[in-house]
Amino acid sequence: EAGVTQFPSHSVIEKGQTVTLRCDPISGHDNLYWYRRVMGKEIKFLLHFVKESKQDESGMPNNRFLAERTGGTYSTLKVQPAELEDSGVYFCASSQDLPGANSPLHFGNGTRLTVT
C-alpha cells in the first residue's frame, strides 16, 4: 500500500508570506494528524481529524494556522502570515482506527519549512 505522502518536502519562504502544506494519508485511514518538530525539540501534536471533522485542535499554536480536510481525504495546513518561529518540520500521520497499540500511526516524510 502507498504510504502517507507529504508535499512539498521543503519550503523556504519569507516572513509574512503564506505557505500551504499538503498531506495524503493512507487510503481508508479516517484518522489524520498533524505534528510539528521545531529544531532540537520534541515532536508536538497540532491537530487530529476524523474524516473531515476536527476532533482535536488543541495543539494549534495560534490563528495563523488553518487546517482543512475537505471530503475526508487529503488535508492541507496553511500558515498565514508565516513568522520566523514557524520554522520546523511538519509531519502528517494517519491511522485506520484511533491510534494505539493495535493501530499505530503511519508517518509521512515531513515538510521542512524555513521562514527567513
Binding site: 504510504g3 515532536i43 491510534p99 497499540a101 508517518f107
Partner: protein
C-alpha cells in the same frame, strides 16, 4: 498528564557493539509505549510497541525494549549495532482520552565503523 524523557540526545557506538537508548515515561493511565526511528529524509517508522501483553518486546531489525513499571522506563536495546542503524530514535507514550501521542526529544545514534 503524560510525558516522555529521552535521557541522551546523542549516542555513539562502534559497529558490532551493543546499543542502549534510554527512555523514561510518565503517565496517568495504563500506557502504550512505542519506539519510532527516523532515517535521514525519511518518515518515522515504527520499531516496536508495548501493549501490556509482555514486558519484553521485540521489534524489527533486531531491536528490543523492556517495559519496567517500577522504574517507569522503556529502554531500547540491540545486541550488535550495524551501520544502517544510524538514525534518530523517538520514544512515544500514549493512552487516555483521545490516545494522543507524546514524543520524546529524540536520540541521535551514530555508529562508528
Amino acid at each position: 498528564a503524560q510525558s516522555v524523557t529521552q535521557l541522551d540526545s546523542h549516542v555513539s557506538v562502534s559497529e558490532g557493539t551493543p546499543v542502549l537508548l534510554r527512555c523514561n515515561y510518565s503517565s496517568s493511565y495504563s500506557p502504550s509505549l512505542f519506539w519510532y526511528v527516523q532515517h535521514p529524509n525519511k518518515g518515522l517508522q515504527l520499531l516496536l510497541k508495548y501493549t501490556s501483553a509482555a514486558t519484553l518486546v521485540k521489534g524489527i531489525n533486531g531491536f528490543e525494549a523492556e517495559f519496567k513499571k517500577s522504574e517507569t522506563s522503556f529502554h531500547l536495546t540491540k545486541p550488535s549495532a550495524h551501520m544502517s542503524d544510524a538514525a534518530e530514535y523517538f520514544c512515544v507514550v500514549t493512552g487516555g482520552p483521545g490516545n494522543q501521542f507524546y514524543f520524546g526529544t529524540g536520540t541521535s545514534l551514530t555508529v562508528i565503523p
